[in-house]
Symmetry: C2
Subunit: 230 residues, 2 copies
Amino acid sequence: MAPDRNRRRIPDATVSRLPVYLRILSEQGDEGVDSISSERLAELAGVNAAKVRKDLSYLGSYGTRGVGYEVAYLVYQVRRELGLTHDWPVVIVGAGNLGQALAGYNGFGERGFPVAGIVDVDEHKVGTVMGGVRVRHIDELPQIVQTKRVNIGVIATPGGAAQDAADRLVKAGVTSILNFAPVVLSVPHGIETRKVDLAVELQILSYHEQRRSGGVAGAAVGSNPRTATA
Amino acid sequence: MAPDRNRRRIPDATVSRLPVYLRILSEQGDEGVDSISSERLAELAGVNAAKVRKDLSYLGSYGTRGVGYEVAYLVYQVRRELGLTHDWPVVIVGAGNLGQALAGYNGFGERGFPVAGIVDVDEHKVGTVMGGVRVRHIDELPQIVQTKRVNIGVIATPGGAAQDAADRLVKAGVTSILNFAPVVLSVPHGIETRKVDLAVELQILSYHEQRRSGGVAGAAVGSNPRTATA
DNA sequence: TGGGCTTTGTGAATGTGTGCACGAGTGCCT
DNA sequence: AGGCACTCGTGCACACATTCACAAAGCCCA
Ligand SMILES: NC(=O)c1ccc[n+]([C@@H]2O[C@H](COP(=O)([O-])OP(=O)(O)OC[C@H]3O[C@@H](n4cnc5c(N)ncnc54)[C@H](O)[C@@H]3O)[C@@H](O)[C@H]2O)c1
Ligand SMILES: NC(=O)c1ccc[n+]([C@@H]2O[C@H](COP(=O)([O-])OP(=O)(O)OC[C@H]3O[C@@H](n4cnc5c(N)ncnc54)[C@H](O)[C@@H]3O)[C@@H](O)[C@H]2O)c1
């Protein structure tokens, strides 16, 4: 019960950690663990225990002092908070290299995000089957979104086509977009977007490598810092 | 010449935006733009202009008041700061669905991260060619890392094998890891890791979708009345 | 029943990031 | 030469996030 609990805003940083807790809790549940302390959960999640407690406290007071959290109940609460009480079908735009890998990825559907469809502009790709889903023409996007009640779109087109893909998704009625193309999307207010940018991740790692090697510019490939800092 | 050749620490938030600025600057440069204001760069990057200026100020004072930043020079400085003055070969562990997509992805090498090798445990995959790179057995990992001077490893194995992959990478001498498996890796101190977790991204979107249906007034631009709670 | 042990939930302190506002340079025009 | 328009660089205040530290609350057992 306690329906009043609903208008709290959960900090972004917390929202981005909840899925991690959820995965760990589910795994622990599968392994027969039925109670877990913030200390243990923190260890498994690679974070500070106080952070875990504060994060979970935004959902409500679901722990028991002196004991910990009941795994099954907490899983339920986190899932509810994340809106995972039902499936969210997704539509993938771009049936290339990446789109193919995504379509063939079981972890998608398993976690409550079944692939409702995959579309492409390339006539050669339309009709082929990827990961059990038939590729359809991008003009069918609105129809897919409507009939399958899709709210989430995934962009896996080349960078140059990503904005067009986003525009089409929004027009079709999608309100959240996950973008794999290395482009900053411009979308109407109210549309949620997130990006996964491989180059950005690698370049961040590069920054730290460069820094580690005490290296400034000009550090040729000759000097290889195999330093195991322990 | 800048005499401040020091160990300035650039804030994480800034480091994660520099690659975005870099891409935009490179594109602008290719289009013949040779000077750009923080205002314009901010617009293209989808952030606040003051933030751009503050971010860039960590690199030094490379702008010209009243004018803006010289694109070519700024590209050079950002690249230098990110350690992109030379290539960083990467090794991919796991030649499955995703590993294949990654190996066949040109954007990798184009951006200075050539695939030095891809390894797998599956004997059936060893020897096959993906994206121009031959799959080798994981036991050859140390040899690849040593001879190709690889500092960055990419994990594209199933979750259950990810920690093992990480251990092997670290043992082989890799000091930075990009992890696509939905697992929290445990690595020795000094090893940098970043993760790309599809489920996390989708669940964050789910959170916002769920919240949207709860009816926070005045959020959307009145386009999509469809509150799917299928 | 009460005391000891454990672990939560949260105020308060500290650390990080953001955005405004404006002084300080710079280029251009008259 | 002087004034004006423009844009950088940054001090400052505020917002957000992390971590500490401890009282409150529950369990267990003698
Ligand atoms: N392949 C990877 O491992 C990888 C990794 C990270 C990021 N990315 C990014 O993901 C995106 C896709 O990469 P990829 O390797 O799959 O490329 P790809 O060229 O193999 O596939 C792109 C697909 O998009 C289709 N397409 C083009 N324009 C379209 C449009 N307007 N609407 C719908 N579909 C359209 C093409 O027909 C093609 O099938 C790129 O932006 C790339 O930078 C790829
Ligand atoms: N496919 C996707 O689109 C996608 C998207 C996001 C995340 N992921 C994640 O990426 C990872 C890989 O996904 P996938 O679809 O490519 O899986 P996959 O099963 O197709 O490929 C995994 C590969 O790893 C190899 N492998 C297993 N154990 C290994 C070990 N110890 N050392 C080296 N190689 C090993 C297997 O032989 C196989 O070739 C998974 O963790 C998955 O959750 C995949």
